[in-house]
């Protein structure tokens, strides 16, 4: 049975290998019109994703047959999928705590795994149209497959080191795909930044794994959850893990890479930078939740991080002109909601919001891709009035934005309500701060979602056909809605984005739901009123003097450049100088000193026999005197 889980993980990996190695076999090299390689790569990618999806569905069916454990307070995934599969393929002795190459499938992992394969399949199908004339499509689709495999490894890993392997490979795929259009230096820099910032967090994550693993005597997740870890160790370990969570899930203070990561192709933003990889941080906290519950200081830190991040990112989203950057900041903000739920003690609400956010944010990004594909620009100031030209996109985007704002009956209404209710009823040191921030953010979310909706689909049309596609855009304006292969995934994703919430309809806290609904509508109403006054102007002007700081995301990037990047580069130049002058200078100096010494000694070698004999006699005399005096 465990081999089915292994197959779910391995199939996309094999597709990646095949896509990289086999798609260009006997088809010639790098020719832009290389349709055979293109088709073959698409088949590899889509077939593997479909097979993984089918096997995941089968896993769901197997797990529903398990016995529901008794007792109250268990999360909903245990109710839905009570069974579990587990297996160890091999144990690697390291000389210390061994690494068990083990996989486990239970309710939590199958829930997250389902999200991954559904979004991955949708993105692969969508990319066929989006990347139609892209010469490097085979490597692109292979990297997406590799990413899918790595994320599934994270989800199904039974051992923290195995999980870490998948965790880092995801980072690599993110790097490769953000830098897909590497001709542009800005994309290349964004890719490097994403990798380095997340890697910085991952070092902390690895040390956290060490702390928990050594304390429990095993890296297996089950053993760690079962082990009796002292509170101090648990706090230290979970705080270190939190560094990795902040890196991957783009939380304060490591959030700066995510907006820049939008330099990648839009389907990548949908898959990696909205629905799945960035949610991995939340997933890992949920996976190890019993350990986190035993470390209250960590949860308080998480709460503060979430409170700062959700409001700051929402304000930044309100001032952006680039549609994808609006969505990127909104991703940071929504991930902070999940973190807030975790800090408030409800992994249920966090996972509920993770799944519904995965669906609606992937939908929003794919819609944004359609809009960008159509308009030939990322900037909302170049869009407007697209409602009539793109009816399907308009309605699906509306569903996505309604879910983002938390309007009923879209999924976001239920999941966000679960989060806010959990925060409201929690008792932590950071609770008042967190609750206030969460409610304020609901209002700001309503405002920026409405602004994006109005500026894209309403008002005067501002589209001008571009003469040449600039790098980073797939197509020029052609006046039609996108091809069917791009519309289908969007339509399919709109269904869960709209309906998924009803899974949690029984647990709605109607009081807090009403409050947040009013706040969201208030934010939306202010923007609408401003927009009605002047449809061709940006409603973000209501921020007044704060608009510039919000647009620059409060200058965090500039701060890091001044405090970290430039000093490190200066230090590097200093090291090179020191190496040449001091370290190697000492070596060369010793050589010169030896030569100098030899010149001195050479002075004695004159070839003059008289001098030699004089020296000899002087020596004899000295010895004789010494013999007499000393004896």
């Amino acid at each position: 049975m465990i081999f089915v889980v292994a197959l779910v993980v391995l199939l996309p990996f094999l597709a990646a290998a095949a896509g990289l190695l086999a798609s260009r076999l006997r088809t010639g090299r790098e020719a832009p019109g290389d349709r055979a390689a293109y088709r073959r790569a698409a088949w590899f990618a889509i077939a593997a994703a479909t097979a993984s999806l089918a096997l995941t569905v089968w896993l769901v069916l197997v797990l529903t047959r398990g016995a529901v454990p008794a007792g109250e307070g268990r999360p909903f995934w245990t109710d839905l999928l009570p069974g579990r599969l587990e297996g160890t393929l091999s144990v690697v002795e390291t000389g210390s705590v061994p690494v068990a190459v083990s996989l486990r499938a239970d309710g939590l992992s199958v829930l997250a795994g389902m999200l991954v394969v559904v979004v991955a399949l949708a993105v692969q199908v969508y990319s066929v149209g989006y990347m139609r004339d892209e010469p490097r499509y085979p490597s692109y689709s292979a990297f997406v497959s590799l990413f899918t495999s790595a994320m599934l490894l994270v989800v199904y890993a039974g051992d923290l080191i195995v999980l870490y392997v998948g965790w880092e490979i995801m980072g690599l795929c993110s790097y490769l795909l953000i830098g897909h259009w590497w001709e542009d230096r800005a994309n290349s820099r964004a890719a490097v930044k994403a990798f380095l910032v997340t890697r910085l967090g991952d070092v902390g994550f690895l040390f956290g794994v060490f702390t928990l693993g050594i304390a429990a005597g095993s890296f297996r997740i089950d053993d760690i959850l079962r082990a009796d870890i002292p509170t101090g160790t648990a706090v230290a370990g979970t705080l270190l893990l939190l560094a990795g969570v902040a890196g991957k899930s783009a939380q304060v203070p490591l959030q700066t890479w995510l907006p820049d990561a939008m330099a990648g192709p839009t389907p990548i933003s949908a898959l990696i930078h909205a629905a799945t990889m960035v949610a991995a941080g939340i997933f890992i906290v949920a996976r190890l939740y019993p350990v986190f519950l035993g470390a209250q200081p960590t949860l308080d830190v998480l709460g503060v991080v979430a409170a700062v991040g959700m409001l700051g990112a929402a304000l930044a989203a309100l001032a952006q002109d680039d549609l994808k950057r609006v969505l990127a900041y909104s991703t940071i903000s929504q991930l902070a909601y999940m973190a807030a739920a975790l800090a408030a003690g409800s992994d249920r609400a966090a996972m509920f919001h993770l799944v519904s956010h995965g669906a609606f944010k992937a939908l929003l990004f794919l819609c944004a891709g359609l809009v960008i594909h159509h308009a030939g620009s990322n900037l909302m100031s170049h869009m407007g009035g697209l409602r009539t030209a793109m009816p399907v996109t308009f309605w699906t985007t509306t569903i996505g934005l309604a879910a983002l704002m938390g309007l009923p009956p879209a999924s976001g209404f239920f999941s966000k309500d679960a989060v806010i209710a959990a925060v409201e009823h929690s008792r932590g040191a950071a609770q008042p701060f967190l609750y206030a921030s969460a409610l304020l953010t609901v209002g700001v979310t309503g405002a920026y979602a409405t602004r994006a909706w109005l500026r894209t689909f309403f008002g005067p049309a501002r589209i001008e056909p571009l003469p040449e596609p600039p790098p980073g855009t797939a197509h020029v304006f052609d006046g039609r809605e996108a091809p069917r292969s791009m519309l289908w995934p969007v339509g399919v994703l709109a269904v869960p984005a709209l309906l998924l919430g009803f899974a949690g309809v029984r647990e709605v806290d109607w009081g807090s739901a009403a409050v947040s609904l009013v706040v969201a509508l208030l934010g939306a109403g202010i923007v609408y009123a401003l927009w009605r006054g002047a449809p061709d102007q940006d409603p973000a002007r209501m921020l007044g003097p704060f608009q510039a700081p919000c647009e620059r995301a409060f200058y965090v990037d500039a701060l890091y450049a001044a405090l970290i990047v430039r000093p490190v580069l200066r230090l590097a130049r200093g090291v090179v100088r020191t190496d040449a002058k001091v370290v190697d200078g000492a070596v060369r100096g010793s050589g010169r000193a030896t030569l100098g010494l030899s010149t001195l000694v050479r002075l004695a070698q004159t070839g003059n026999a008289q001098l030699y004999v004089t020296g000899l006699l002087a020596g004899l005399l000295l010895i004789a005197v010494a013999a007499v005096v000393l004896t």
């Binding site: 690697v92 000389g95 210390s96 880092e168 230096r185 040390f207 590097a572 190496d579």
Partner: protein
């Protein structure tokens, strides 16, 4: 008693001797070199095949005959889990170097002399890993220096003479210290047999003598490794050496230093090791950070890879310094991984230099992925492997070294090693930084014209001069230095079949050990546990 190790040494030695025959005068030696080194590789694989993996901690295939009875010297060879991977790695890299040479005539001419030199080098390298007698080890250790000196001095770049002299004088100085240390051990115990000495776990040698001997042996080996601050011979030697020289220098010669720690310094002198391990660890982590920072500001591709070796060897030494089984495993794994990955990197750097006519990153311009897509992709792969991505071989050495530092041997100070671990962790971020910045500079961007040889920027010193204060290292700066062109004028050809034949084994092994680390750890773990004994295991 087995003759296999002796045959493994005899094949390259006789092969080299036969090259002196007049038959080879004026004829191509490439096929001959491939045949001899291939035979040595097959023999190394036979050794690996007959090796009993259930008992990897025991010395197997031993050959022990008197050599100089008056001095008590014995010709004692054998393999165990520590040396076996390195023996196979050496045979493989030498073979791949000959495959590479088949299509790349050495720049200095005299291919027959180069083949001879490389085969003698192989004898010395494999002998070092097989030797089980202190003096025999030393002899092989020294045998290696001479051919490597000639490789650099005859077939090297423009500043080869100075680099070769620096290389041989510096490493000879280290060898002198090593010899003194070995003699101290001999004077205290009266035996030169490594297996015998290791089994005693230091009993019979007083503490002071152990510390002195460890200091002398350790510094001698640290020059070879190289450990910061004894590393400055390395960048010059690598920058000037021809491709095969760089590959063997990084792939095998550096490993002889670290192998000495695992084979002699730590097992024979455990108390000395326990006393000096904090210093070793401190120098190791300084080397990690220092090497990474030096890489970040390099302009020359080969020089950058050379400095990256300082950082990677820092992780290996950190593993040793923990004196734990996991740390020793980390060091041995890191050794093999570094040999594979840095060997590949130097092959690639050589190929790049051959096509662009320069290894200066600013001169080269960007857009390699457009101009040379296959070489650019392989370079990306090798860099990603070298920065320690999980799933590739480089990761396990680094991760296990940090894990060892998390909980060092009981005799060592834990807070100190936690600091080492944290600094080493920062070093991994810096390692990623310089590799990615290099990739971004060289492989990304629009294809630009390579700056032709203008004012000479050839010697290492001049490159350092250019990189004075105020010189920006941001990749943006290249935009002003090089003009963008539609189609680069310099015609370049992408990867050739011969190059792939030389590189793909390294790629495959990097992947294999990365995805299945057990293949290597299962061999080294029993050996490491046998070496550390009961005395120092936590």
């Amino acid at each position: 008693m087995s003759a296999l190790p002796a045959v493994l040494l005899a094949v390259p030695l006789l092969g080299a001797a036969a090259l002196a025959l007049p038959v080879f005068r004026g004829r191509s030696t490439s096929a001959y070199g491939i045949a001899v080194s291939g035979a040595a590789l097959v023999l190394a694989l036979v050794v690996a095949a007959v090796f009993d993996y259930r008992d990897a901690g025991r010395i197997q295939l031993g050959l022990d005959v008197p050599w100089s009875p008056g001095l008590g010297l014995r010709f004692h060879l054998g393999v165990d889990g520590i040396s076996l991977p390195l023996v196979v790695l050496t045979a493989l890299l030498v073979f791949l170097c000959f495959v590479h040479l088949a299509r790349h005539r050495p720049e200095g001419g005299r291919p027959r002399a180069l083949a001879f030199t490389l085969l003698v080098l192989e004898v010395g390298m494999i002998g070092t890993f097989l030797a089980l007698d202190l003096l025999l080890f030393f002899v092989f250790f020294e045998v290696v220096l001479v051919p490597m000196y000639f490789v650099i001095a005859i077939w090297g770049g423009p500043a080869r003479r100075a680099a070769a002299v620096k290389f041989i004088l510096y490493t000879l100085l280290g060898s002198a210290l090593l010899l003194i240390g070995l003699l101290v051990v001999w004077a205290q115990t009266g035996t030169l047999d490594i297996a015998d000495l290791a089994a005693r776990h230091g009993s019979g040698i007083p503490r002071t003598a152990q510390v002195l001997a460890f200091l002398a042996i350790g510094v001698g080996l640290a020059v070879k490794t190289p450990m910061w601050p004894l590393h400055t011979w390395l960048p010059d030697a690598h920058t000037e050496a021809p491709t095969v020289g760089s590959v063997l220098l990084a792939g095998v010669l550096l490993k002889m230093g670290t192998y000495g720690f695992a084979r002699i310094a730590i097992p024979v002198l455990p108390e000395g090791a326990a006393t000096l391990a904090p210093w070793l660890g401190a120098f190791a982590v300084v080397g990690i950070v220092y090497g990474s920072l030096a890489c970040l500001a390099q302009r020359d591709l080969k020089r950058m890879i050379a400095y990256s070796s300082v950082g990677h060897m820092g992780f290996v030494l950190l593993g040793f310094a923990t004196l734990t089984p996991v740390g020793m495993n980390a060091a041995l794994f890191g050794n093999v991984a570094h040999g594979l990955i840095t060997g590949l990197l130097f092959f690639l750097a050589g190929a790049v230099k051959e096509r662009y006519g320069t290894a200066d990153m600013v001169r080269m311009g960007g857009g390699m992925l457009r101009r040379l897509p296959y070489i650019g992709s392989l370079l990306t792969f090798a860099c990603v492997a070298s920065l320690g991505l999980p799933g590739l071989a480089g990761f396990w050495g680094e991760m296990l070294a940090l894990l060892g530092a998390f909980r060092p041997a009981a005799a060592l100070s834990r807070p100190l090693f936690l600091v080492f671990m944290a600094v080493g962790g920062l070093g991994t971020v810096l390692t990623a930084a310089y590799f990615l910045v290099m990739l971004s500079r060289v492989t990304h961007g629009r294809p630009t014209e390579t700056v032709p040889a203008g004012p000479p920027l050839t010697s290492a010193e001049e490159i350092r001069e250019v990189l004075g204060p105020g010189e920006p290292v941001e990749p943006v700066a290249t935009g002003t230095a090089v003009a963008e062109v539609e189609e680069p004028a310099r015609p370049t050809w992408d990867v050739t079949g011969h190059e792939l034949a030389a590189w793909l084994p390294l790629v495959a092994l990097t992947l294999a050990f990365g995805l299945w680390p057990k293949a290597l750890l299962a061999v080294t773990t029993p050996a490491v546990q046998a070496v550390l004994g009961q005395g120092v295991t936590p």
